[in-house]
Amino acid sequence: MSLPRPGRVLWDRLAALLLLAFAVYIVAVARQLTYMQGRVPGPGFAPFWIGVGLGVAALAILAGSWREARSGRPAGVQPEEEPLPPARPLTLVAIGAVTIAAVVLIERVGMLTALALVLLALGRILGGSWRAAVLTAIGLPLFFYLLFALWLKVPLPRGPWGF
């Protein structure tokens, strides 16, 4: 079993604090909704308790993280999966950026063109050949056109060039 790296613990605590803040927000909003309507729970009842529960869970995660750091061993049961290799942040950011750009483009250049661009860009980012990327970028949107537009009759957004 590997010792928790200092970075992991920091991220763990940050996430827990974020959850705690979110729990406070949920409770604050829930209190503006009606908690009880007469003797029956109102719309604020469930969110209030969900917020409280989330807050307790966040505090438990924080407490666990401190215990873990003190005892030098991770909380809970042993891991069952092999740890992931370290992130390649640039690749992941590139994939995220391409995908977001494509969704922005859907209503401007049309669904099929946007997807063709995604396929081309992601194929290249993941180290595929130009040939494979171009073939997928042409072939798959064509298949999608047959499946979604013709067979399932989904009105796909079109670009200025009619598809």
């Binding site: 991220w11 909704l33 029956v40 989330l54 869970a57 992931l84 390649r88 969704v103 995604v118």
Partner: protein, 504 residues
Amino acid sequence: METLRLLGEGFAVVVQPLNLAAAVAGVLVGQLVGVLPGIGPASTIAILLPVTLSLNATAAMIMFIGIYYGAMYGGTITSVLFRIPGESASVMTTIDGYAMARRGRAGPALGIAAFGSFIAGTLGVIALMLLAPSLARVALAFGPPEYATLLLLSLSLIVYLTGRNPAKGAAAALLGLWLSVVGVDLITAKPRFTFGQLNLLSGVEFVPVAVGLFGLAEVLLSVQRGAAGAGVTADLRLRAVLPTVADWLASRWAILRGTLIGFFVGMLPGAGATAASMISYATEKRFSRHPERFGTGAIEGVAAPESANNAAAVGAMVPLLTLGIPGSATTAVMLGGLLIFGLRPGPLLFQEHAPFVWGIIASMYVSNVLLVLLNVFAIPAFVAVLRLPRAVLLPSIAALAIIGVYSLENSVFEVWMALLFGGLGYLMHRLEYPPAPLVLALVLGNTFEETVRQSLQISHGSLAIFATRPLAAAFLVLTVVLIALPVVAQRRQVRRLRAVRKAT
């Protein structure tokens, strides 16, 4: 007798061309995603949900079950040949399966896994057929308090059994519950947490969340995991795949015990196929007269977990169909799909939609037969799929996810939601928050809130209603025990650690 008549009617449903085609398509797709590491049945069903909405509910569900089953069979191939579980439920098979492959016995390992899965799957369906209708009859007597406490128990089980840190599981489940209250409150028509978005008035749609958390997040994680290695080359022709008499004798009890363990563990919410395969592997090792052989290529070490994961996939259908409570991510996505079709699984399903239920049950027999054939005759074809470059496969999955989610409501908003949850799913995985409790809580949240409010309406606001009805009280006590367990265990661990420190 009645059961046989209903089953006969079920088979009449399955042999309709559309349903049969759905079964074949399902097992083929399932086998494929089973073979491909990283992409599991939950994400596949989520991504395909929008496409299947054009079918009818029966055909869609038959296809989903085929996918679920197929993934259980297909996961074996990668485990044995590459020592990479194609699907999390095949983790245990990597131990003895890969050891067998390195000794040149990949064929029999895959063969016994296929036959074991077939036997376990078929026995499991028989058990389901006998058990489910009576359970459904019992569940008919459930009122809102019983349902509310049962849902609480199920959610706690899921939190307790998925992931290492129950607090993180609980946080995920509570986030899911919060997502379920977003939108207009059904009783008072008051909007909650809609952030001024018209799109959120009708609530958070289930499909974009599932596609994001499982599909898109898995694409990102697959990028990070990197490609599979070269693997073991093996003779996979029919003669090599058929197990010998000695193999059969060595694994017969392992298959039967695996089936039994798998079916019952599979019924528990949160435990599922992966846990079932682990428990059955450990059991086999304990029962064995030569436990030292495990890990060096013992065929029982393949037969037991592979039988167990298939039986568990069937067992998981019991609470889904009879109580409307999914026990795993995959069955949660199935439930989400059924709800979109306007079918609410639960005790009434057996009465009001008998042809649907029995059609599904009959389709499980058919899928089992199709899969054992595929896994005896067509293994080389599926091994070839692994040569498909990731640079083609992963972008294609992302593209299908985008267009699929869009087609659901013809709205880009849902695509943004899927991207948002894709990112969240990736972060959750990195920080070890299990995504399954979130999805399950999202699917069950509305019913949970509804039944709690109905219960308190019945009791005029008194919480005593949950403690005075015997079944509800029993569910509640079990929940409290479950929540207390990890706390007690942790206390004990800390105490032991301190004792060790004092001693040294």
